[in-house]
Symmetry: C2
Subunit: 330 residues, 2 copies
C-alpha cells in the first residue's frame, strides 16, 4: 500500500507508492557519453566565453588564458542582469520588477572529460571554495537578496553544454521554495526553540535507517519525504546558516564526491540536479535555518499531477534508497 509523507521543512507532501516500486537499475535514464567537438569551457578556448569574473589560477597568470583550475564566467544568455534597474511596477492585480541579478557559470575543471564525481578531490574543494567566494562577493550588492547555486548534469536534467559546470543565479527576491522553508523553520523554532534541521539530524542519527554516510562535519541522508527516487541531502552536523562558514571544504568535498559516486554507481550515471540552499542575505545569521545540499537524480517524469498539485509520487521509499546507497561498492 502507499503512504503520504510530509516534508517537515518545505511542508510539501509526497506519495510513496511502493506498488510502482522499482529497483535502481529499472529507471533506465543515463547521461549520454560526451561527444566532444569544440567546447568554449575547455582550456585554450578562454577567449570564446565572456570575460572571466574569477578563477583559481597560478600567481601571475593572466585572466582569460590557460592555467586555471576553476573558472567563473557570466552566462552567455543570462536570465538576469546586474545592470538592470529594480523598478517595481504594479498594473492592476499584477506586479513586476526589472530583471536585476546575476547569472554565472562555474567551470569546474579545464578538462572536458571529468565530472563532479571524477574530479580530483582537491579540485572539488576549490570548486566549493569558489562557490563561497562568489556568494560573498554578490552579497555586497544590496539589491540582491539570495544566491542559488545549482548544477544540471546531463542534457535531460537541463545541461546545454556537456563540459561539467555549475551555475549560480543571484536574485532580487528570496525564491518561493526557500521562503517556504524559512517560514516553516522559523515557526518550528518559535514553538520548539530548536532548529528543525538540527532536530532532523538528531532523529536520523538515532533511527539510522535513512543515513547514507557521515564524516566529522557532515551527514548525508535520504530525506523522509523525497520528491523523487534517490533524492539525497548533505547537511552540516553543526548548526550553520550560510554556506560552509567554518571553511571545512575538504570534508564537504569528500562526502559530496562519495555521494555522487554512490549515485553514479547504483543508478548508472543518471542525469541529476543539485541545489544548495542557504539562508537569505537578510537575517543571514539565525538560529532557525540550516544550509544544505539537495541532489535529485532525474529518474521519473514531472507530469500533470505534479504540475497541478505540487505533490510528488515516488516509487522508492527513502529507507530502501539509503540502503542501496550505503551498500554501493564505489
Amino acid at each position: 500500500m502507499s503512504e503520504l509523507r510530509k516534508d517537515p521543512v518545505s511542508g510539501g507532501w509526497v506519495i510513496i507508492s511502493v506498488e510502482r516500486g522499482k529497483r535502481p537499475t529499472d529507471f533506465g535514464m543515463r547521461v549520454s557519453p560526451k561527444k566532444g567537438g569544440f567546447c568554449a569551457f575547455c582550456k585554450g578556448n578562454e577567449y570564446t566565453t565572456p570575460p572571466e569574473i574569477a578563477a583559481i589560477r597560478p600567481d601571475g597568470s593572466s585572466p582569460n588564458t590557460p592555467g586555471w583550475s576553476t573558472r567563473v564566467v557570466p552566462n552567455k544568455f543570462p536570465a538576469l542582469h546586474i545592470e538592470s534597474e529594480l523598478d517595481k511596477i504594479a498594473d492592476g492585480v499584477y506586479h513586476k520588477m526589472g530583471g536585476v541579478g546575476a547569472h554565472e557559470v562555474i567551470i569546474e575543471s579545464p578538462d572536458h572529460d571529468v565530472t563532479l564525481s571524477t574530479l580530483p578531490l582537491k579540485s572539488l574543494e576549490d570548486v566549493l571554495r569558489m562557490f563561497h567566494c562568489r556568494i560573498s562577493d554578490l552579497k555586497k550588492d544590496k539589491r540582491l537578496k539570495y544566491v542559488l547555486i545549482f548544477k544540471n548534469e546531463g542534457a535531460a536534467a537541463g545541461a546545454s553544454l556537456e563540459h561539467s559546470h555549475t551555475q549560480l543565479i543571484a536574485l532580487p527576491i528570496v525564491p518561493k521554495l526557500v521562503h517556504e522553508e524559512i517560514v516553516n523553520a522559523r515557526l518550528y523554532h518559535e514553538h520548539k526553540g530548536q532548529c528543525i534541521f538540527c532536530d532532523i539530524i538528531q532523529q536520523e542519527k538515532m533511527a539510522n535507517i535513512r543515513v547514507v554516510s557521515e564524516n566529522e562535519c557532515y551527514l548525508c541522508l535520504s530525506p523522509y519525504a523525497p520528491r523523487s527516487p534517490f533524492e539525497t541531502w548533505i547537511l552540516p552536523k553543526k548548526h550553520e546558516c550560510g554556506f560552509a562558514p567554518d571553511g571545512s571544504f575538504s570534508l564537504l568535498a569528500q562526502i559530496l564526491q562519495q555521494t555522487l559516486k554512490q549515485i553514479d554507481k547504483i543508478l548508472n550515471l543518471p542525469p541529476y540536479n543539485m541545489m544548495i540552499h542557504i539562508s537569505p542575505f537578510e537575517n543571514e545569521i539565525n538560529e532557525y535555518y540550516h544550509w544544505h545540499i539537495e541532489i535529485k537524480p532525474l529518474l521519473t517524469k514531472i507530469a500533470g499531477f505534479e504540475w497541478g498539485s505540487g505533490f510528488y509520487i515516488n516509487p522508492t521509499p527513502p529507507e530502501e534508497a539509503a540502503k542501496f546507497m550505503r551498500e554501493a561498492q564505489i
Copy 2:
C-alpha cells in the same frame, strides 16, 4: 532585458527572459506518432482493464463490453487506494498518513487514433460531463478533500499509454499548489471584497493583449506570469467555484478544443499537461475561488534552478504567445 513577474493567484514568480526568445517553431518538441499494437484502452479489449467504474454507453449495453463512448476505469498501478486506512502517524519531526484516495483513468474515446483536439465535439462534451460525474461521486467519501483531474499528452509529458486518456486522483488533503491559490485568493477577497480571478478576467478583457479567445461563458488567456511558454488558462467568465455547475459543457468543449487545436497548430503537436483546479470539497461554495483549466505545453526543461527556487524561466512573453494563438489558422 528580462523582467520578473508575479502570478497574483499562486504568488509564484517567473523570469520572462526575452533574450532567450524563441519562435513557436524553435522549441522542437512533439508527440511521437502512435505506434499502435495491442491497447487495453481500445474497444474490444475492455476485459483487460480493471472493471469499469462508469461509462457513457447505449441503454442496455453491459459494462466492460464494447459500445461505450467514454469509459472510466481504476488505474492499474494506483498511487492511492480507496480501501486504505486514513491513519495519521507522527514520528518525531515527521508526519505520515495512509494512502487513502482514488486514482482513475478516463478513456476519452474507444478510437485509438484520436486526441482531445481531434475528438468529435460531442464526445469531448461527454468527457467533460464525465469529469463532473466522477467529482460528484467521489465527493461523497468524506475522507476525500480534493479531486485533481489532469491529462498527460505524449510520453515526454508523462503519458505511459498512447491511447488518449485523462486521469483523476482524489486526495485526503488539499494539495499544496491549490492550497496556496486558496490562501492568496481568500486574502485578496478579504482586502478587496472581490474574487481575484473575476478581477483578472475583467482586467484582461480591458487590456485585451493576453486574451486568446472567448465565447458566451468562457475566456481563454495567456496568464500574466506563465511558468512555461504558451501556458494557457480557460476560465468561466461568471464566478463559479466548482467544475461547470451550470452545465455549460458544450461551450466549454468548444473553447477547450479550439485552444488545443491552436496549440497543436502553432507548436506542431507538442506534449502537454492539462490540469483542472476546483475549490476543495470543504467550502466548495465560496466567493473567493474560481475553477479553471491550466494547459502547459512541455517545451522547456525543469532544471536545478526551478527545483531549487520554485522560480521558472520563460523565454516567451504571454503577450506574444497570445498573439500567435489568436493568429493560428485552425
